[in-house]
């Protein structure tokens, strides 16, 4: 068991959880998340992500192990650790009959905030999450995306130092997801540590600096996003051409493998360690004008699947 650093927002040591039905959800988790980090916790369904969040938020009791939040033990410093935490759960968990504004103001009351301060905080976060106009609506009238944003506003009303989001953008449309990303990035820039679980690997790649992959109750990868992506040996790039291709482009480098997709596109596979400037030069020499280029596969997805296999 490693020692716990006081500079961590979260330190987890030897965490295990066996449910009453005998299912062992966690098999000895060690995990550190640094202060001000934007951290991704990835894993397939049933891997143990929500159990970890449940234990941190005290909704689930650990079978063994220890968790510290900003250096304070969750089991012994309940008040301080809960004050530092904001939780956005995976499932909608507010009353469907309450008004949007009341839900956020009530949550403020649970943290000892009342009156004008509670109302100011509620207004601040409802405005930031584009829900202010809906403050007098019953929560059941909100769309799925609005309900998720309401849970974020509710989790922020006491201004926690650590925000944990369990799949916050599940079922949210692309435009809304992007605006939520921007909001979370702004929050992180202003000093809030963020831990995110998600199924959208693109989301983790875009937002997070560090990442842990959990599978069957164990951490199988725990590193920075950069280092993880560097592990990918090859990548496949798809090129769209301005004009119709007369023949497939050719390259004098055996590392570069080119395949035509259709009359206006082709794909190139090459090592991730090399630059791609030479490819453009070779294409220009062959008179091929490129209109656009994209990565064929989600890089993180490949690494994720490879981590799970290993």
């Amino acid at each position: 068991m490693q020692s716990i650093s006081p500079k961590n927002a979260i330190s987890i040591r030897g965490l295990t959880k066996t449910y009453a039905n005998g299912f062992q959800a966690l098999k000895g988790i060690d995990l550190d998340v640094k202060e001000n980090d934007f951290f991704a916790l990835l894993g397939p369904n049933g891997a143990g992500k929500s159990t970890i969040i449940g234990i941190i938020s005290t909704l689930v009791r650990a079978s063994s192990g220890a968790i510290q939040v900003f250096g304070q033990d969750v089991a012994t410093h309940v008040y301080e650790t809960k004050l530092s935490l904001g939780i956005v759960p995976q499932e909608i968990n507010f009353s469907q009959f309450e008004k949007v504004g009341d839900i956020v103001i009530t949550q403020a009351g649970y943290y000892g905030l009342r009156g004008d301060l509670a109302k100011q905080r509620a207004e601040k976060y409802l405005r930031k999450l584009d829900l202010w106009e809906k403050r007098d609506n019953r929560s059941r009238m909100l769309s799925g995306g609005m309900k998720r944003r309401l849970m974020i506003a509710r989790a922020l009303v006491h201004e926690p130092r650590l925000l944990i989001l369990d799949e916050p953008t599940a079922g949210v449309d692309i435009e809304l997801r992007r605006s939520m990303w921007e909001f979370l990035q702004e929050l992180n820039r202003n000093g809030t540590t963020i831990i995110l679980t998600t199924h959208y690997l693109e989301e983790a790649e875009s937002l997070c600096r560090n990442i842990a992959i959990i599978n069957q109750g164990q951490i199988v990868e725990n590193t920075s996003m950069r280092k993880l992506l560097d592990k990918l040996a090859r990548q496949t790039l798809v090129f769209d051409t301005c004009d119709e291709l007369e023949s497939a482009p050719t390259f004098n480098d055996p590392d570069i493998l080119c395949t035509t997709i259709d009359s206006h596109s082709f794909e190139i596979s090459l090592s991730t360690s090399r630059d791609i400037n030479g490819i453009y030069a070779a294409l220009s020499e062959q008179g091929i004008l490129i209109r656009g280029m994209r990565n064929k596969t989600n890089r993180l997805e490949e690494l994720f699947l490879s981590s799970l296999k290993n």
Binding site: T58, L59, V78, Y79, E80, Q96, T106, Q107, Y110
Partner: protein, 262 residues
């Protein structure tokens, strides 16, 4: 830097927040919470008090309608205090919004006090409505105002606590209707609401003495009419014991996480 427990002022705000939320809930759905007991008890007043009561004559030295009014008020208080906490807390569990409080730093005893105070508020509110309705059928004057208020508060607290424990154990909405139907209703009907236990044979009086509702109804009747089948001090002592006992059990279950934490 916060200490290792919630500030007293913050605890009070959290308590007040839960209480206001509870009051907001039962007043929002007043057609389900405040009107039905008024109609039911009004019918009891009309049928048992005015129509049949006139033929029954006197009970315990009072007109029958005067005799049953305190019991009927108490019945409304008991049923509504219990129903408020059991349905509200279970509904919070069912919709998972109880997690809002559980992840916050609110201590368990504040959560318990908040919900119990909400149940007491509905019990008292319904009690006041039913009392106001009773003036259409009889002219009551209260003999011991302080005792009457004390009994209403203690009784609504006892049954709010019982409703809370029921909700902790409940897994389905059926589970919160079983106790009121099979336990609460018989206890109330056999607790001296409609008759004096002096009418029962000795064995029946002994059995009735085990029914906590008997003490509540009779102490309340003593507060209003000045007459009772039981010793008032003993009844108050029993109410205190029930309150403390149920509070201890509810707090223990809450700390243990029964029905709430996995």
């Amino acid at each position: 830097m916060p200490g290792n427990s919630m500030l007293t002022n913050h605890k009070y705000i959290a308590f007040e927040t839960i209480l206001i939320k509870e009051i907001r809930r039962f007043t929002r759905i007043w057609l389900q919470t405040l009107v039905p007991p008024a109609i039911t008890i009004g019918l009891y007043f009309l049928i048992f008090g005015n129509l049949i009561g006139g033929r029954i004559g006197q009970m315990g030295g009072f007109d029958y309608v005067d005799f049953i009014v305190p019991g009927l008020i108490m019945m409304a208080v008991i049923q509504n205090a219990y129903a408020n906490v059991s349905s509200s807390f279970f509904s919070n569990k069912f919709q998972r919004c109880i997690e809002e409080i559980l992840v916050s730093p609110v201590p368990n005893y504040i959560i318990l006090l908040g919900f119990v105070a909400g149940g007491m508020a509905r019990g008292v509110a319904v009690g006041l409505i039913v009392t106001a309705m009773s003036f259409f059928f009889t002219s009551l004057h209260i003999e011991h105002v302080f005792l009457t208020l004390l009994v209403v508060l203690l009784t609504s607290m006892v049954f709010s606590l019982a409703g809370f424990i029921n909700a902790l154990y409940a897994n389905t909405f059926d589970d919160i209707s079983i106790i009121p139907t099979f336990v609460l209703t018989p206890l109330i009907y056999l607790g001296g609401v409609f008759y004096s236990i002096e009418l029962l044979p000795t064995f029946g009086q002994w059995i009735s003495a085990l029914n906590p509702v008997l003490y509540m109804v009779n102490t309340f009747r003593y507060g209003i009419l000045g007459t009772s089948d039981v010793n008032i001090l003993w009844a108050l002592f029993m109410l205190g014991v029930f309150s403390a006992g149920l509070f201890g059990v509810a707090l223990y279950l809450l700390r243990k996480g029964t029905g709430l934490r996995q």
